[in-house]
Subunit: 290 residues, 2 copies
């Protein structure tokens, strides 16, 4: 690939740029971003070769465009690039939700759909900004591609090859399946953790309660330290799937509440044992795969 435009040169976009360069898969990287200080840092650190403040100008020269901004910013970026995109240019993204990105592509880039490849790299960190970018971020991580019905096989292949060159294992599924899977194993626990910590913090004796919180609390609530704006956008973008999971969880809690209220010790133990068994089995596979 000749020129890669990365819109949003933070941890995710910057790390892809570094890894693609490291793997010899890209000629030139043009970074586009809102923060002049971050873009200057990206240039100084060699994360990008060039900085542009004009997404249309940059995309007119692109062989591939990676949208690595929050999903909330993608519509404006797509609309700006639509009139100038070369016909062969592949447009992909790194958003955590895929149904909404597919819909945006359909609405904003109707002439480009054969080259649109929605994607979700499963990687992250508490860090952000170009200075957090590292070329090894995607080593042994998963990337999910959710091609549109219109997407050309060659475009999927190009994006797959790029991510594989960065060390990732690439999976394909529909946007609907993706959003349902991630609502359940990622988006739901994040909102559950936010809700839990907010509830404790609102207690009249919050300070006393926090004083006695220990390592179980620490791990259970780690993701409540995540970026509020990003998770607001994810929750809204994947609203239907998230609400479905949240309804399931509320039903599960009602079941558990009834077991506790009726002191049904056997059923409680069975539920806890099923969960423990599933969690330990999952963790063994996770440790082996990472």
């Amino acid at each position: 690939m000749g020129t890669l435009v990365v819109a949003g040169v933070g941890l995710i976009g910057g790390s892809l740029a570094l890894a693609a360069r490291h793997a010899g898969r890209v000629g030139r990287v043009i970074g586009v971003g809102r923060s002049p200080a971050n873009m200057q840092r990206a240039l100084e650190l060699g994360v990008v070769d060039e900085v542009s403040h004009d997404i249309a100008e940059a995309c007119a020269r692109a062989d591939m465009v990676l949208l690595a901004t929050p999903v909330g910013q993608m519509a404006a970026l797509m609309r700006a690039m639509a009139p100038v995109l070369p016909a062969h240019t592949i447009v992909t993204d790194a958003g955590s939700t895929k149904g909404d990105v597919a819909a945006l592509m359909r609405a904003c880039l109707p002439a480009q759909l054969a080259h649109c490849v929605p994607a979700h790299p499963i990687a992250g960190s508490d860090l952000s900004g170009a200075a957090a970018a590292q070329y090894g971020l995607y080593q042994n991580r998963k990337v999910v591609l959710t091609p549109l019905p219109e997407t050309a096989a060659a475009a999927v292949e190009a994006v797959r090859t790029l991510w594989q060159a960065c060390g990732a294992s690439v999976h394909e599924m529909s946007a609907a399946e993706h959003d349902s899977v991630f609502a359940s194993v990622s988006h739901l626990p994040h909102v559950l953790a936010f809700a839990f910590v907010d509830m404790i913090a609102a207690h009249p004796d919050a300070a006393r309660r926090f004083d006695f919180a220990a390592t179980g609390f620490r791990d259970f609530t780690r993701i409540a330290g995540s970026h509020p704006e990003m998770w607001r956008d994810i929750a809204l973008a994947n609203r239907d799937a998230l609400l479905a999971e949240l309804a399931d969880y509320q039903a599960q809690l009602a079941t558990l509440e009834a077991l506790i209220a009726s002191a049904d010790a056997d059923a409680m133990q069975q539920l806890f044992e099923r969960a423990r068994h599933a969690r330990l089995a999952w963790h063994q596979r996770f440790v082996r795969g990472n």
Copy 2:
């Protein structure tokens, strides 16, 4: 102190025995337990000086008795020791719930209440058994004492001094406050994590979902790997306080569900920001204190 009887020589009881010995605070430790293999191991490892299979026989020689078994076993132990306990012998425990232990002491040891000191060391691990015991377990950990109205100041002081000698910081509160605080910051998250993992595991496509679970899921669900029988007992022992917290959490989820359903982005972001702020502030204090 001359002789300490430890009923239940696992991680918690064994570590207290080792730490008390290390600090020169105990002459002789007699271990009492259900598993002959574990008791043999405790003896071989020097966690205890002597093993007894007869709680009454051991307690007749005790200056202090530590009940470090699951709470469900304590009533039988107390009843067995009641007829033979020397008048001066202090009875304390290491249970995760305190209202129920206080009630048991009141029911089973009515003549000993001046020397009963319910206690909860805030320490644990995935490991269990005498082989997991380590003398440093309580270094910089918290221990909560919840004395009865009848408890003599000298008995509280003796238990406080013992835990402080093991490196712990000792706090006092009522059993009711203890149970409410721990229902919110410990018991509730455990049952929430069990319920969450059990829900995912029950999905028709559970394997697919687990495949894409990552580090957020890992940390959020770590406590779902906890001991099912122990947590069943804790949930039952602290049922009222836990049900109150669970009801509050269900109300909080209903609020959040309404915000998501109505796409109230501002209110969602505010809730997430409050949670993030509280979690980061808590974590800073926690890291400094541990």
